[in-house]
């Protein structure tokens, strides 16, 4: 017979104002198995915890039930208390009488009855609880970072500096990401390349960091501490060992027809290319769709000119299997496609450009060598209109309902850069709201207005009419109610950011969830911002939601710290609530193995003595290290040979019975 102690928390007035604690205490005394009950204002406080600990010792309690807030909140707190008092922590159950009771019900009588019922269920379950001991698994002391933008680079550096191996996987030929495309960075206006390039070099030189550029993660299995990952290294057509990065091939390649991705299509590149001069690794890639050799079989100029014979047309995709203890997802973001915003003429007029294209236009290494001119006629613009919130905060089907967060600041930056370069050029910014939360951000934006004379207009642009060599911008100053018409030379659109198109596939591969907009979901919006629901997988950067560089870097370091926390342990304790097989009942049908999401169940042959005869039988076997405790197998098992510890068939049935009283 178990000796159950029940502890009822008032949670100040959170519970006690709706639930009559005295009645609950009185009812608890009559529940089968209960030998002790106690109520207290704040059970989770140290005093409250001590009540639990002392009672366990004094009254020889063998099971403990705490009726308080959600187990998602304080289950671990009370389990620790039980453990401190010498009781196996898994002998404790929580009855959720706050979130599921006092907070959602108004009628005191009904809420009190429900609280009693929930406590009864917890007591019924607790009586059937078994002491559980978590197993241990080793940790692969190596981290995988998916995505080589600033978030990925920073994460990799931090983890590597802590002394752990890091593999950095980047889809494109070079790390650097979106930040590499930027000219200056707000709010300090320092050169993006000047601060990013050293980090890229650091990453490439770090003896603990392996960069897999032009590679993709193809498959992820396993669990925290022991992820098994397949990385696909796409055929680069270049032998990375031999290539010195001299660049002769780039210059000699006759097929210079492809639009440069890095330059946002503002210039052309060769079929063999490095995305940009500071690329890391500084090894080119052959774009097989553009390359004449691959298309027609003739050419081969690059191979002829290569001094080291690094060109390898026969190269194939390679797959690499690697084990990791932790994974950090830093896959970044994209800009939305502006085709559906016909009124802005983006698709139809070369002088209507995105912010990112503007970055390339003003960049000294960009397609115009830093000369800010109109893409159409290479003339210096006299009037430039910037439009914010193109697709952001847009509830219609065309846009995104969220704020893209970075546009206010970079538009101010663009306007300032423009006025700095050409003081005689007028700058107009159409905005809905200007949002400058951030250190030094407001000052930065005010500088654009106050020192640089940028015209900020609260209002939006209705339509742009290309007229002659001008762009007639029809807008409104919503404050004055004046309808405006500006003859602009150039229009810069602050297009909304969005999650990478493949994000949900990546999410499925990693078993991490994505939100409505396909950004990855953090475990808790406030308290666990870099963790995911999948232990050992962390998030950093704009793949989790729109954010600027300072925030991205901060999150990257935070994710790195979390990962280091895992890697620094030689062993991890398992969730002990895993499935187990009763071999005497198991029929060996192995239906469980077919549905297990973790492939944690395998078959084995056993010899059983049944009524004096030896029978060799096939049975299922659970790998406790792989099992995550979903319990799906228990339902495929008709005879109930496989059961989930902590949530056994008997326990749940006991709860049902108790609740139905």
């Amino acid at each position: 017979m178990q000796r159950v102690g029940v502890f009822i928390c008032w949670c100040g007035t959170n519970i006690s104002s709706t639930v009559n604690i005295d009645e609950v205490v009185a009812a608890v005394k009559n529940m089968p198995g209960v030998v002790y009950s106690k109520d207290y204002q704040y059970m989770c406080s140290e005093v409250g915890q001590n009540l639990v600990k002392d009672a366990i010792k004094e009254h020889n309690l063998t099971r403990v039930v705490v009726a308080a807030c959600s187990p998602r909140m304080h289950e671990s707190t009370f389990r620790k208390a039980a453990k401190a008092a010498g009781l196996n922590p898994y002998l404790l159950e929580i009855a959720n009488i706050r979130e599921h009771c006092s907070w959602v019900h108004k009628d005191k009588k009904a809420a009190t009855q429900k609280a009693i019922s929930l406590t009864k269920a917890a007591v019924a379950k607790a009586i059937l609880n078994q002491p559980l001991i978590p197993g241990e698994v080793g940790v692969e002391q190596r981290a995988l970072v998916i995505g080589g933008g600033i978030a990925g680079i920073q994460t990799a550096l931090d983890i590597a500096d802590a002394g752990y191996e890091v593999d950095l996987v980047e889809k494109t030929p070079s790390i650097g990401g979106k930040m590499a495309q930027l000219d200056k960075t707000f709010p300090t206006l320092d050169c993006s390349a000047c601060i990013l390039t050293p980090k890229m070099v650091d990453a490439s030189m770090h003896d603990k960091i392996n960069i897999y550029s032009y590679s993709e993660v193809e498959e992820v299995n396993g669990f925290v501490g022991n992820f098994e990952v397949v990385i696909k290294q796409k055929a680069r057509s270049i032998d990375m060992e031999k290539c010195t990065g001299c660049g002769i091939c780039l210059a000699k390649c006759p097929a210079k027809t492809a639009l440069s991705e890095f330059e946002e299509g503002l210039s052309k590149r060769a079929a063999i290319y490095t995305p940009f001069p500071q690329a890391v690794p500084n090894v080119p890639v052959i774009d097989r769709e553009t390359c004449t050799k691959f298309r027609t079989g003739k050419c081969g100029v690059c191979a002829k000119v290569c001094p080291t014979g690094a060109i390898d047309y026969e190269q194939k995709d390679e797959r690499l299997n690697q084990k990791y203890g932790a994974i950090i997802v830093t896959t970044g973001y994209d800009l939305i496609n502006l085709d559906s915003f016909g009124e802005y003429q983006y698709a139809d007029h070369p002088d209507v450009i995105t912010g990112l294209e503007f970055e390339r236009l003003v960049n000294a290494a960009g397609p115009t060598a830093g000369k800010l001119v109109r893409p159409s006629d290479k003339k210096k613009p006299k009037k430039v209109v910037f439009i914010q919130c193109v697709g952001s905060r847009d509830k219609s089907e065309r846009g995104k309902s969220y704020c893209s967060k970075i546009c206010c600041m970079y538009t101010a930056k663009h306007a300032m850069l423009l006025r700095d370069k050409y003081p005689d050029c007028e700058a107009y910014v159409f905005y809905i709201d200007v949002r400058t939360a951030g250190k030094g951000f407001e000052e930065f934006q005010r500088r654009a207005v106050e020192n640089y004379g940028v015209n900020y207009i609260k209002g939006m642009v209705g339509k742009i009419f290309p007229t002659g060599d001008k762009l007639k911008v029809n807008g409104v100053d919503a404050l004055s109610g004046e309808v405006l018409e500006i003859d602009a030379d150039m229009v810069v659109l602050a297009s909304a950011t969005q999650a990478k198109p493949g994000a949900s596939d990546v999410g499925r591969m990693l078993s991490i969830s994505t939100d409505r907009d396909n950004f990855f979901t953090e475990a808790h919006p406030k308290l666990r911002p870099v963790e995911t629901h999948c232990a050992g997988i962390y998030l950093a950067g704009a793949c989790q939601g729109p954010k600027d560089i300072p925030e991205t870097v901060a999150q990257a370091s935070a994710a790195a710290a979390k990962a280091i926390g895992i890697l620094s342990k030689s062993k991890l304790v398992n969730n002990p609530c895993v499935s187990q097989v009763d071999e005497s009942v198991c029929s060996g049908c192995l239906a469980c193995t077919k549905m297990c999401p973790y492939e944690a169940i395998t078959e084995k042959m056993v010899e059983q003595k049944v009524h004096g005869k030896i029978r060799r039988r096939r049975v299922a076997e659970v790998n406790a290290a792989l099992c995550q405790g979903c319990g799906g197998c228990t339902v495929t098992c008709r005879p109930g040979a496989i059961d989930l510890k902590g949530f056994s068939n008997k326990q749940i049935l006991a709860e049902v019975d108790a609740i139905c009283q």
């Binding site: 009559n30 009524h611 009283q661």
Partner: protein, 345 residues
Amino acid sequence: MKKIAKDQLALLWEKIDQNYQLFLPIAKEKAVNFSTWKEGAEVDLDALRTVNSPKNIIFPQTETYLTFKKEGKKLGLEVVSRDEEYVVFGVRPCDVASFKLLDNVFLGEPVDKFYEENRQKGLIISQACLNPEETCFCNAFAINPESAPVGADVATWDLGDLLLWEAQSEKGKAFTEALSDLLEDVSEDDRKKLDEVKAGIKDKLEDLPLVHVAPEKIEGGLKEIFASEVWDELYQRCLGCGMCTYVCPTCHCYDLKDYNGNGCGERFRCWDSCMFSDFTMMAHGNPRTTQKERVRQRFMHKLVYYPNNYESYACVGCGRCTERCPVRLDIVKVIKKLGGERNEL
């Protein structure tokens, strides 16, 4: 001897129902079983053999002993007893004979009070069999299907449009008296007709394929039969379901169970089957670990153990197992096998 026109029977049921719980063979969803009569019930007196035997009335499949109720820390108990006197109409002679076999067990010392009460409160009305089926073999156990069986308070014969009625016991006579306004005396013609019918049944019996089965041919003592190699062969096809024991009018093993219905509940007995793997399950496990031992147990009980105790076979030849066993492992085959006969083709 009395009689009643068959088209008057509905009135008879109604009349009996006023003072008794009345059990009749009633068809429900294609199955005929003894169940309580209600206005509009589909009574089927032609069905030779109900699926469940009327054993279910004197020894119900589930019978509550007592109910309990928890009040605070106290437990209140209440013994349950059968509330109403009852009448069973249409019990075939084989089934009437089975009651005696059950009486031997339950009314011997120590007397089973629940069973005793069930027997005392009941009045049995038999119905002779005019058309025994090919699976019938009651004759092998000296039961005459055409007769007024011992143990029936009233015996009846179905003569097509008439039902002949003869009270046998004191209880039966008093009961008949109470129904006098519906029953009339029989004529000489009726008696003659009855004799003819009886003789006809005897002829039919001769033609039945199974009536010549002879349990007496089983030779040897208990230990020899127990150790017989025949069991090794016989049991093999048994699927281990409990159908034979449940439809059998003489099987009488039961289990005791409690139902905990939230602070109240009941203790009940329910039929159990020696064919089940958890039959007589004990702390150390099951005493009969294989189906061979279970099959042997059942037939040893019917053909050896029971006769040793009560000098009568525990089978009445009703033919239910012969008809129902999914793999046709019926008692006729067992008797023949043990008696050294091969199955004729």
